[in-house]
């Protein structure tokens, strides 16, 4: 178990990187606390797998340092780092039994036979693999194989962190839930540091206490699932997390109002003043869950209606999505299934407490 620090880390797959585009990871400073459950969330090609492989030691970074508990491990090989990694596709040793698979890392480290026996049985118990120990690993299902991959990391009592690279890709939908739950239990039981890479927001947010959202090689926000949802620190987080993503509109500030195509939207005065002070391009962001749509003249208390036209309403069974027009822009609003609403003129309500402003795509904090 260890705390992991990444100091001034950068990586390029090209031999002589010059411009920023040559870098898969431009420059990164980060701390992963001991015993935390973290997720790295981002679209394909955002650098999340590169970062994971740098932590495990499979890739040497072009510059910067990796520290485990303050100790520099940058030049150490993966086997010297006490790291375990679970890959996208199950990696098992086909010719071995489940027991031998789990015992393999211990045998490689010269453990004695009775100690191996005891430790493997302990770990098999945790992973519900006891009944399969004598079976050949190649005959098992994808979920059991992933548990074995994980087990090969867990058997080592000195393991500092377990890294997961989209481990549920090949798992059937209904088994995903049991495996995710197992992961949570193991985390609670063993207090290991876990880092989980995925492009799927559900997986990231179910698994992790802290989610790092990556975009173009950069970590644009590290926060709890709730923070990512309520206070996206970057427009990309607003767009990527949540379904549908945050509505984002370029705007200008006049007084305490945002102006979009000559339409005025009231703002939180504090945020509006901070926004007015910057010279960067501004965007207004509001989540579809928080955007109100009413057909009547009266709006919920504390909000001022903005005239709009509802273009379409999609009934998705459990909820409805209304697509509305504001000037030249389209906004989506997520409404409860019980709301009766039809296309036509209506009013949009932007609750000031839920309306966010972004300068240069970064959140203007309250």
């Amino acid at each position: 178990m260890a705390r992991i620090d990444l100091v001034e880390l950068s990586h390029s797959y090209r031999p002589n990187p010059r411009s920023r585009d040559d870098y898969a990871l431009p420059k990164l400073n980060m701390t992963w606390k001991d015993g935390g459950a973290y997720a790295l969330l981002g679209p394909s090609g955002c650098g999340k797998t590169t970062l994971l492989n740098i932590i495990s030691g499979l890739i040497q970074p072009s510059a910067g340092k990796v520290l485990f508990d303050g100790q520099d491990v940058t030049s150490l090989q993966p086997q010297q780092r006490n790291i375990a990694q679970v890959f996208q596709f199950p990696v098992i040793y086909d010719t071995m039994t489940v027991f031998d698979n789990l015992a393999f890392p211990l045998r490689n480290r010269g453990w004695k036979r009775p100690d191996i026996q005891k430790r493997v049985e302990e770990i098999a118990e945790i992973l519900d693999l006891t009944g399969d120990l004598k079976n050949r690993a190649s005959g098992l299902g994808a979920d059991a194989k992933q548990k074995i991959s994980m087990g090969r990391g867990l058997v080592r009592p000195d393991v500092a962190a377990i890294l997961f690279d989209e481990p549920l890709t090949t798992i059937d939908q209904h088994l995903k839930w049991t495996l995710r739950r197992k992961l949570k239990q193991i985390h609670a039981q063993l207090k290991l540091s876990l880092i989980y890479v995925t492009h799927d927001q559900v997986e990231a947010m179910t698994f992790a206490e802290q989610v790092a959202v990556m975009y173009g090689g950069e970590v644009v926000q590290m926060g709890s699932p709730q923070e990512l949802f309520e206070e996206p620190a970057h427009t990309f987080v607003g767009f990527f997390v949540g379904s549908p993503g945050m509505n984002l509109l370029p705007c200008a500030i006049e007084g305490n109002e945002a102006v979009i195509d000559n339409i005025r939207i009231p703002l939180d005065p504090e945020r509006a003043q901070k926004a007015a002070a910057t010279n960067s391009p501004l965007k207004l962001g509001i989540r579809p869950e928080f955007l109100g749509v009413v057909k009547t003249e009266t709006t919920p208390s504390g909000t001022i209606g903005v005239p709009t036209v509802i273009e379409s309403v999609e009934d998705l069974g459990n909820f409805k999505i209304a697509t509305t027009r504001l000037g030249t822009h389209r906004l989506k609003a997520k409404l409860p299934e019980t709301v009766e609403i039809t296309p036509g003129p209506a009013q949009l309500c932007f609750p000031t407490a839920r309306t966010r402003l972004y300068a240069d795509d970064r959140l203007i904090a309250a």
Binding site: F89, R109, R136, S138
Partner: protein
Amino acid sequence: MNKIYDNRAWLLVLPVFVTVAFSAVIPMMTVVNYSVQDIFDADNRVWVGTEWFTEVMQDSDLQDALFKQIFFSACVLLTEIPLGIAIALCLPTRSGWASSLSLILLALPLLIPWNVVGTIFQIFGRADIGLAGFLLNAMGINYNYAANSVDAWLTVLVIDIWHWTPLVALLCYAGLRAIPDAFYQAARIDGASAWAVFRYIQLPKLKGVLTIALLLRFMDSFMIYTEPFVLTGGGPGNATTFLSQYLTKLAIGQFDIGPAAAFSIIYFLIVLLFCFLFYTALQNVERSKQG
């Protein structure tokens, strides 16, 4: 059931039937025909039943050739397969000019026809004008494939290894390249030694291509003809007279067509039997693993 029947579909398979009939069935039946009759000319033939088979089986020269053949094939397999794997493991893994060049160099022997390979080694091994023969003799080894039967036998073995190990190596190389990177990465993290990586990842994943290599090399080596024929004509004595050459002598040299036909069938059955045994053995290994 409204299954659709269309008898014209048979026309589509007809070309295959005709080709197979001419390429395999008719020649095969001719051989069977000769093996159970004594044929003097078109009108004079005597049914001899299994007589030729009995005669051929009791022929001590043939038994001798058979044992020599089995021993030869065993040596070929025991050398070429491990050597091929070893070469494949040494090849550069990253694609680039280095790997392209080594693949081309490796594939060169495969492009040379059998009789040319025989001729090359016939000259190469001569003590007077051949480099290898000269060097060996200069080192004090009395090497003369034309006079010494062990030398001749070893030369044929070396020819086969030189000619065909690249095939095994290329097959294994393709097999190794197909192993996903994650396996190597996991093994590094598990602290596996190079030997453990080979034993538990590479070798199991190569099983498929190795089966193919084994069968191909067995069939080919068991039917070796051209190289010893070009090198020494099967000599000295009968030292390099393997089964197919023995068969040719019988059929063309002595014109004993009946026994030659009977022997052809036995030969064919032996190859078939061995291939079947290899194949089932490997399949069983797989099945016992599953169990």
